[in-house]
């Protein structure tokens, strides 16, 4: 054993001891409460926009996963989680409108990533065109709530905002339908081939969105659709009753925050139940061994289409919400990079794992929208103040490089993701396990050898 190894061993045992102490008796309750109080206080007392607050917001969202993992009672977890997400975050959002927007986006992408996780993580079908379903949902509401609809159905006026609720359900159904339609041609394909075909189909949807402004102007082409309808603010009296005097923009921010939170919670529930059911088992079986699965009576086609439909339906609904939140959609929003972004959330967090996928979505969204731009702007400020950073180095141009490096490092050191599903961890770390007897070389059956004639 080398000195390095010994040191690592000591460090691990120290870490294990710490974990054991923190996990015993009332310690986890005290620690999570302390963590929650400190982070909440920091957020509420200093709601300025800056790198410091960025970090605190990250810590706040990580707190959710700490609560999830902490060995405490379920009621405690739920109460604390509800207070933090239902009270602290919205209050902070009122004090500083910038961050709640980012958190809403994180929730939205978490839901999208969970949908993709059904297809990629559960059923093992690599889908590189997932954003197509998101686009379908977004354009659905975008077209029906704006004058675009009059181009398609002459005389029809744009639907008003209260239709939004119905369109959440329609988005779900249309998403599922497109999931099945895009799933049908790829059913016979596996692995790399499947990935390439879904990539192509995803591009088809984007190109259609770009070009369907002629002969009939359906999508308004590259200019996109603006002034997408928003649902009526039925919660306004409630805000007033709470003594909140905030602008309509802020009211909508809170409104969409809670809506996304609700949909996300429903998504988690649905995905969790499916995964622990006959259907989820069939998906895992297909991922593990298609031939064995079908020989055990799993109808391959139906189960694969179901995975595509379920995954796509979440994206359809989120697309409807996205278009109402942004009030503007255009084709570049739904490009290949977005699909890959969502896939990287799933992989970074831990394929097949529900909390992992959500953690991945939160981290990637925060890095994307907040941390990397912030780091870049801080570096530019330093550069201007005369810190020796060469002038050819434009931090804003290099911020994606950091993201790329992060992905590379992750995949080298923790390929199973941040919060992996247990099975996946076993799969990727089989060397660490005590050598399973199953791996032993099986002797060739004696009778199998056919002796040469005359021997």
């Amino acid at each position: 054993m080398t000195a390095d190894n010994r040191q690592a061993g000591q460090f691990t045992s120290l870490w294990a001891q710490l974990r054991a102490t923190a996990g015993r008796g009332p310690a986890p309750y005290v620690l999570t409460l302390a963590y929650a109080t400190i982070v909440s206080a920091l957020l509420l007392l200093n709601p300025t926009t800056g790198l410091g607050t960025d970090m605190v917001v990250v810590l706040f969202l990580l707190l959710m996963f700490v609560i999830y993992r902490a060995p405490t009672m379920l009621a405690f977890k739920l109460t604390l989680g509800t207070i933090l997400l239902g009270v602290i975050m919205p209050v902070f959002g009122v004090l500083n409108p910038f961050y709640i927007d980012v958190v809403t986006k994180a929730g939205m992408f978490a839901s999208l990533a969970l949908g993709l996780n059904v297809v990629v993580g559960f059923a093992g079908l690599l889908d590189l065109g997932y954003v197509a379903f998101f686009a379908v949902g977004a354009y659905l509401w975008g077209i029906f709530s704006t004058p675009q609809i009059s181009n398609i159905v002459p005389g029809m006026v744009p639907l008003n905002g209260s239709w939004f609720w119905l369109f959440l359900a329609i988005g779900l159904a249309v998403g599922a339908l497109f999931g099945v339609l895009l799933g049908l041609p790829v059913l016979r394909l596996r692995g790399d081939y499947l990935a390439i075909v879904t990539l192509g189909l995803g591009e088809v949807i984007r190109v259609l969105a770009t070009n369907l402004d002629r002969p009939v102007n359906i999508t308004n082409g590259a200019q996109g659709i603006k002034d997408v309808g928003r649902p009526p603010l039925f919660v306004e009296p409630l805000f007033k009753a709470l003594g909140l005097n905030i602008s309509v923009i802020q009211e909508y921010q809170l409104y969409f925050y809670f809506l996304v939170l609700l949909i996300l919670a429903l998504t988690v529930l649905v995905v969790y139940r499916l995964n622990n059911s006959r259907i989820g088992r069939a998906w895992t079986a297909i991922r593990e061994d298609e031939t064995a699965a079908i020989a055990m009576g799993v109808p391959l086609v139906r189960m694969k289409l179901l995975a595509f439909a379920v995954g796509a339906s979440f994206a359809g609904t989120m697309g409807v919400i996205f278009s109402a939140l942004q009030t503007f959609i255009n084709p570049p929003t739904f490009d290949l990079l977005r699909s890959i972004g969502i896939l990287s959330m799933v992989i970074l967090g831990g394929m097949g794992s529900i909390p992992g996928t959500m953690l991945g979505a939160v981290i990637v969204t925060l890095l994307d929208l907040q941390l990397l731009p912030r780091i870049a702007s801080e570096l530019s400020i330093l550069q201007r103040r005369g810190v020796p950073i060469p002038s050819w180095f434009d931090p804003a141009q290099y911020q994606r490089l950091l993201f790329g490096l992060l992905l590379v490092i992750m995949m080298i050191f923790r390929p199973e993701g941040l919060l992996p599903e247990d099975r996946r961890r076993q799969e990727l770390h089989q060397d660490d396990l005590p050598a399973p007897a199953a791996e032993q070389e099986q002797p060739a059956p004696a009778a199998e050898a056919k002796p040469e004639p005359g021997s």
Binding site: R278, T284, A285, I294, G297, L300, A447
Partner: protein, 264 residues
């Protein structure tokens, strides 16, 4: 009573004829072996019976129904199930989950009831778990039910494959080399288990097997394939003495010395 009747089955892959005009009749409640040298087409024949391959020619009747051309999952649902020559468990699922997958076709829970977790779904799931544990007890694996299948010792994996196949509630079970790679003691255990499938569960068993001791001990009838063609069929003693079988296994020269060497 005839349970399965394969009628003049031929399977070609391009120019290669893997199974050539093979007919086989299996009586309900019997144990039948299919033997033959490597590459004789035994596994291909199994794959045709279970729907993984469609026969190029020929018909298969199971329990009075024509099954050639059905999908594997449909055939499984009708009551034919199998194990694989190279164990094909769902490695990263637990032992219990593997058996539960086998029950897929027998469970009803569909999308919406599952999402709403209705009492019917919950009751069905509980019953399925109980049944799975019964099957695991039958193959002596119940105490290992929460281990991952990949971590089981070799012999346990073989038994788990049988439990998983039983979970589909078959009437006919096809075992592809169930004792391959086992030591003599494991082989003896496996042989007892195969007998119990018929004696305790009332199943009809067809096995592909290379271990002649196993074949001769438990088979009631034996079919011999060589180069895709059926060269012999009959009782174990008849097969043991059949010159064409000895020739196929040991070569022309050995055939003259009589049949005893087949057993070695």
């Amino acid at each position: 009573m005839t349970l399965l009747h394969a009628h003049h089955i031929t399977k070609q892959f391009g120019g290669l004829t893997a199974v050539n005009d093979v007919s086989l009749t299996i009586d309900a409640g019997s144990i039948v072996s299919v033997i033959g040298p490597n590459g004789a087409g035994k596994t291909t024949f199994f794959n045709v019976l279970t729907g993984i391959y469609k026969p190029t020619k020929g018909t298969i009747t199971f329990d009075g129904k024509e099954i050639a051309g059905l999908r594997p999952d449909q055939i499984t649902t009708l009551g034919i199930c199998r194990t694989f020559q190279n164990i094909r468990l769902f490695g990263t699922m637990t032992v219990l989950e593997n058996v539960l997958v086998g029950m897929h076709a027998r469970l009803r829970a569909s999308l919406w009831p599952t999402i709403f977790n209705t009492p019917v779904v919950r009751a069905e799931e509980r019953a399925a778990r109980d049944r799975a544990r019964e099957l695991l007890t039958f193959v002596h694996l119940d105490d290992k039910r929460s281990q991952l299948a990949r971590n089981l010792p070799y012999g346990d994996q073989r038994r788990l494959e049988i439990a998983r196949a039983l979970a589909t509630s078959p009437r006919l079970i096809l075992l592809d080399e169930p004792t391959a790679g086992m030591n003599p003691q494991e082989t003896a255990e496996a042989t007892r288990l195969i007998s119990r499938l018929r004696d305790d569960l009332g199943l009809t068993v067809v096995l592909i097997e290379h271990d002649m001791r196993v074949v001769m001990t438990i088979s009631e009838r034996i079919t011999v394939l060589d180069y895709g063609t059926k060269i012999a069929e009959g009782l174990p003693d008849e097969i043991r003495a059949n010159p064409r079988v000895i020739e196929a296994y040991l070569g022309k020269g050995a055939a003259a010395h009589g049949g005893e060497q087949v057993e070695g």
